[in-house]
Symmetry: C2
């Protein structure tokens, strides 16, 4: 039967002021997945990396997505999947979303693209439910669609593609553990109306900045008075990195998803590399192991690299 190979990009959710509603796809890092259609109703998972993720489909992010598609097809088919993960689990740049989105897009392709883009997002959200307990789409949507996605609403699902300028993205992943569920739990359930107003001014500013290609406005709008002050406590060196990166020429940035990765946007490759240098200096000094990436916004989303 047919065998397909897809490239699944890392993603940055929230984009500072857009908690739970904005996300952006990156060109690096990315996972590679191979998917084969089976004539029996079963899901077989093989991991080709060192992360030791579960191969039981009910405990695997890609697995639950494929099981939900299999069920939708009245268990007339099955899937064999091989996952080569380069996006570290727990890094905060959409590792689980890449598996979930990749599985959903690849399965749909093998089935002749019978499902709409919204349905593919819905299938993939089953993976996020397994990974974090919440059916959110702020990594899934940009991973599937590329670019910047606005998730205006989850019920009903309303995803809007936001054309985004050609920005550089610098990411640092300090190798500490921040569990998405913990990062959610420390948030207060109530916020001050005046803070909410400031936040929605920034969100409107950020979206307008993307749509008008106004880098200065994007920079000014990358401010979060609600989530970041609470969550940044979990990330050592956060404030220093943010301040120093902006001094080094970055437009602005903040926590990627629920962390621990930190991302910064820049107008030029030079500024993006100077930003990377600042990130390295801080974590070299504190002795925390880390990875960095200097990349650009991925405009394609999950991409088919071969189809045999």
């Amino acid at each position: 039967m047919k065998n397909i190979k897809v490239r699944c990009p890392a993603t940055v959710a929230n984009l500072v002021c857009g908690f739970d509603i904005l996300g952006m796809a990156l060109n690096e890092p990315c996972d590679i997945m191979q998917l084969k259609l089976l004539s029996e109703p079963k899901v077989v998972i093989r991991n080709k990396d060192e992360f030791n993720l579960p191969t039981d489909p009910e405990k695997n992010v890609a697995g639950v997505v494929l099981l939900s598609i299999m069920e939708k097809m009245n268990n007339t088919i099955g899937f064999e999947v091989e996952i080569e993960k380069h996006i570290k689990p727990g890094s905060g740049i959409g590792s689980s979303a890449a598996s979930a989105a990749g599985a959903a897009v690849a399965a749909n392709y093998l089935l002749g693209n019978i499902f709409s883009s919204d349905e593919v997002v819905q299938f993939a959200m089953n993976g996020e439910k397994l990974a974090s307990g919440v059916k959110h789409a702020d990594n899934i949507a940009p991973c599937i669609l590329g670019g910047v996605s606005l998730i205006r609403s989850i019920h009903p699902l309303d995803i809007i593609a936001i054309p985004s300028p050609d920005l550089y993205v610098t990411v640092v992943h300090p190798q500490i553990e921040v569990r998405t569920s913990d990062a959610r739990q420390i948030l207060r359930k109530q916020v001050l109306l005046k803070d909410a107003i400031r936040q929605w001014g920034n969100i409107a500013g950020l979206v307008t900045g993307f749509l008008k290609n106004d880098h200065s406005l994007i920079g000014r709008s990358l401010e979060d008075v609600i989530i970041e002050p609470v969550r940044s406590i979990l990330i050592p060196g956060f404030n220093e990195i943010k301040t120093n990166c902006k001094e080094a020429g970055a437009l602005g940035g903040g926590i990627s998803g629920s962390g621990p990765s930190i991302f910064m946007l820049s107008s030029s490759e030079k500024a993006a590399k100077a930003t990377e240098q600042v990130m390295k200096e801080v974590y070299d000094r504190t002795g925390i192991a880390y990875n960095t990436y200097v990349t650009t916004i991925n405009k394609k989303g999950v991409e088919i690299v071969s189809d045999e």
Copy 2:
């Protein structure tokens, strides 16, 4: 000395989900103001309407704006102003903002446009402070600039013009009194994070809808889960009007500013007029006196109509 006549548009603040950060200018109704530069440091006010507004400059919205400009000019000049108000005070469509913005723009013009657009907004905000106790700019900014304005931040002032599609606007002003200060007082100081998230999804959607000329997205985003449920209690017939207008073809709408006026956006003049009919029916039935307007978005802001 020079005599200038300006046209000052009515404005709709908040635009449903954009409490305190969005505003839009209308082509109808509008005030007419005539301003003359004096060589003595005094402000003389003449009202050419039936509203009996104060002529003591310290108690008059246009007056305090002109006094603040006079002070900035080291009291070397003064102003004589004649106000012909067509925007009813207390209607919720920016009556005080029209006086404040008109005075600031006209005075700046007479002084050779020595102040920047941000400075003109700052002067005009002194009038809003007198009128409502709060220095807000969500009526002032669109009144001066035209179109849709985003006030990303007040401190520091950051106003962004949002290009807006050619939409029709229907407004009904039920002749009841809702004081801006009362309408502010009934709001809770805290909001649920989940409501704030829903609200900022809608704000991002609305702004994207304006920028992409996506009328359906504008309609879906005109939802307010925080302010409207509280404030609409003060406006009889609100829910019925909102539901019936949408059934009649309006994209959506809600309370204009802090009320009592209600506005609706439509894609066509036909839908805007059907919307007006619905508004009339509801208030005819309840016996509340009202005015209606069917108009379009004003793209020019305060406009000089003659200069002698």
